[in-house]
Amino acid sequence: MSISLNGSVGRGEFERTLKFSVADGEVLAVTGPNGSGKSTIIHTIAGLVPLRSGHLESDDAIWDVPDSQQWVAPENRTCAVVFQDLRLFPHMNVIANVSYGLRAHGVSKDEAHSRSTAVLARVGMSSFETRRPSELSGGERQRVALARALVVEPRVLLLDEPLSAVDVVSRAALRELLPEVLGSFAGATILVTHDQDDLEAIATRSLGLF
């Protein structure tokens, strides 16, 4: 199992108990109506929000066990996130955005550059390297965010509503791109969505929150 969570997530009236695990190569879709806490799961696994109780671990490390004070900071977890609002760094261009994670891990500038270029090619954004995020369309930004998460080769990939902020045309294109990219991704993927079509196109399993 690449990642397994068994505990309660969220705060106050939004707290809920979950138990699931995802293996390498799987794409788990977490579905449910808006407000059912899907994003919170992503944030908890990423380490931006702590578990209320229980156990969160990846296959080679324990990430979060509140009761025994064990906690790994977000920057030390082997996961990468594509946020719902994408969060591309506005003051950097595309290639700098994508290489950010590699540079944070000490990869040299040249190697980070070449790895980023390769990943950008896989998502079809090769000629956009020097553009700023503000110059891109919704669909283009989504691809860059995806590239940025993939290039660090995480064990766990977390996608929060990847197709929600995208127009219909780009959505169709992305709906074809995602399974292709995820198919060659070695780790586990957790995909949050409220769209049934996305689910059927991309996921291998699903978990419903109702």
Partner: protein
Amino acid sequence: MKSQRVSPALKVVAFIAAIFVALPLLSIFVRVPWSDLGEMLSQKSTREALLISLQTSIIAATISCIFGVPLAWFLARSSTKWLSVLRVICITPMVLPPVVGGIALLTAFGRRGILGQYLYDWFNVSLPFTRTAVVMAQVFVAMPFLVLAVEAAFRQSDRGLEEAARTMGASPSRVFFTIALPAARPAIIAGLALAWARSLGEFGASITFAGSFPGRTQTLPMAVYELVSVDYRLSLVLSLVLVFISVGVLAAMRDRWMAGR
């Protein structure tokens, strides 16, 4: 409502209001002895005061920035329950009348001051009436302005970007230098300009803590004050220099950081 066309009468009124507001500057401009300007500018006291003012205010602004930005970061991001108390303490120099600030500095760092006595007894270092004292006084009054401006920017900054950076593997320090600082750059520049202007015009605290010794600690404001009763024409010239520096650079900086938005 705001896009309603403004009648010419109102524009004239606005123009008059602007003139009124700029009145002190204009008056000084008018009264400056332009014919003797060159000779007065080249006088030793002028050059010395100008040099000291520039030197101390730039150093003070830089120090305020180096210490103020991390301080602002701390205030914006930390969550101790003492935070509001800490912030009030930090703002205190802004509230403190400058002379009182100067006296307070003297109490602490003077030769017989609580900290100063050790400096004197152990290291033979006497701070009052030195150029260092001028810088200290300026930092004391100017840093809060920078801290306030930058803290506000850090508070309003997009935490989401910082979170994203951390999920990418960036340590808190890397997040600070690569994400938070660039985002706060306009506010830092504005704060720097503010702190610098405040340092340049500082009078009350520096005259009590550092004194007004020509060539040693006498800044432009002090020189202007001393000359008012002695040679008011020279004091006008010095004021002109002072105004030019502070207003000129401030105006230039404002363009830059406003355009950056």
